[in-house]
Amino acid sequence: MSGLTGTPFGALSIAILRGFVRDRSALFFAVVFPLMFLVLFGALLGNQDQPEIEMVKVGDVPLLDHLPADARSAFDATFDVEESDDLDAALELVRKGDADVAVEQRGDTLVAHYTQTEQVGAAITQVTLQAYVDGANVAVSGRPPKFGFEADRVEDDSLTTIQYYTPGLLGWAIAMSSAFGAAATLQGWRQSKLLRRLQLAPVSTPTIVGARVAVTIGIALGQTAIFLGLGWAALGLTLTGSWWMSLPLVVVGTLCFMAIGLLAGAVAKSTEGAVNMANFLVLPMAFLSGSFFPLDGAPTWLRRLSDVLPLKHLNEAMLDVLVRGEGPGSALVPLGILAAFAVVVTLLAAKLFRWDTA
């Protein structure tokens, strides 16, 4: 390290890196905070199956009590059954939403009481119970059924929770730390007059900017290693073939969000203002770019809007190469878009840049 610390570039890089790793809150927001979201989302959304339907069984219901074995297992998987002798109390539970359906048997008729609040659950209840009644009718007739039914399970392409959220939350983490780091450094150095002081030293502007960029890229690659490493080791993340393409994506994404941070730092009048402005730009962008939830169900205009956000392209490309098994070529267009963003925003920030607060 002594060879590197002797050069202006090396000394500046190490000074910036030390300032970062000694800043507990910056470390927390860059690493721990996004990881908390990852663990939280994994726990909250880990079981995405349709929840069981809560059924209150009033009195004896022989039709359901004597189901054939295969129907019984399907029934148990679909319904969570509670027994009751009081129909009025059971109806009250359904009315209040504490139960989905109350079932009683009047003679040979199965009666289901439900509300229409949860339409999918209501439809499943109705169709399933009807099927049991039909099955019982066939059984009583003594004739073998004419038509058969067989279920064949196909592995689906949809992603598990951890697979979906790791790339998007990583994209958000990188966007946040790159933008905040650039914004806070620029403003902080300007406020403390360090920027002026550096201008008086025989160091070129590219050396100063280069050191800040090198450290931010290093931090982003560190975040990536921690995210993917922890996801793989503890949360069941499986990376697909061209995951290594995420590295150039992280580098270009970092440049893009540093530029946004520089813009915030150039426009704002104080360090707090710069960080708030970076937050104002990055947080809504994270929501609109699918970092926190998929945009598949979002209205079309919202999805069109998200197409102009760089984070959306970073997230999509990271999903493609990290977990969707797309080839390395899939990242080329997003790389170009992110690079173009970085160039345009950097030029804008450079135009608005001032050395001091005056």
Partner: protein, 241 residues
């Protein structure tokens, strides 16, 4: 030998003429104080001499070189102390001065020697945020001197210090000057200018009002008294920015 030569220097910001046709000469080895009320134009004048701002009109020669545009040959020969806050965040005193040493490609050993010389050897492992006002000022001065410059600019180095710290810093500043360096100092303390400076430049409304030895300035002032009386007689008593 002339260290700084300024002729007809002018700089305006919109309607405000911050520096108005200033002529000023500082000799090599001289200790010069620049004093003036807030907003008088001291900072703009010094920033132009340091090569940070482009003059609207006038000539500036520093150590025989033009000051503008930013002169690469000049930078290693000039040391500037701006404010005690102009540090890298969360670095220790030693890391701080080592970083500045590396910017000027000076060996770390020289940085350690300066740390000792300003009396911060025992505070080398403290972070700048944990230093007292006087310690931070001394570190800031050491960082400005780490590359052994011929010409040193000090911006209110004793602001907000207690009398003990102020007097100790005076000794340090005298020693820096006695090493043969030219020192230009801005201050609001007239006793400081009187005690340290060979000559004092009094500036107000962008103009150079007086530039002479403290003794001559006091002698020429009809009412007698001290340098502060001269200053107030020249610049008036109304509040400034």
């Amino acid at each position: 030998m002339t260290a700084i030569s300024v002729v007809g220097l002018t700089k305006a910001y919109g309607d405000l003429t911050a520096v108005d046709a200033v002529d000023l000469t500082v000799d090599v080895g001289e200790f010069v104080g620049v004093i003036g009320p807030n907003g008088a134009g001291k900072t703009t004048l010094l920033e132009m001499i340091e090569g940070l701002r482009r003059p609207d009109a006038g000539e500036i020669t520093v150590l025989g070189e033009p000051a503008w545009p930013r002169n690469r040959r000049l930078q290693p020969r000039i040391g500037v102390q701006l404010q005690a806050s102009a540090f890298f965040e969360r670095l220790t005193a030693r890391e701080q001065i080592h970083t500045f040493a590396a910017l000027y490609r000076v060996p770390a050993r020289a940085a350690d020697e300066w740390l000792e010389r300003v009396g911060l050897g025992e505070k080398a492992a403290s972070r700048v945020e944990d230093l007292s006002g006087g310690q931070a000022q001394r570190l800031s001065i050491a960082c400005a001197l780490v590359h052994d410059p011929e010409l040193v600019f000090l911006d209110e180095p004793t602001a907000a210090l207690d009398p003990q710290a102020r007097r100790n810093l005076w000794d340090l500043l005298r020693a820096i000057n006695e090493d043969g360096r030219t020192v230009v100092l801005t201050t609001h303390y007239m006793d400081e200018a009187e005690a340290l400076c060979d000559r004092v430049a009094i500036i107000d409304h962008g103009r150079l009002l007086q530039h002479d030895t403290p003794t001559a300035l006091v002698a020429a002032h009809a009412g007698g008294g001290n340098l502060e009386d001269v200053f107030l007689a020249l610049t008036g008593r109304e509040y400034r920015a």
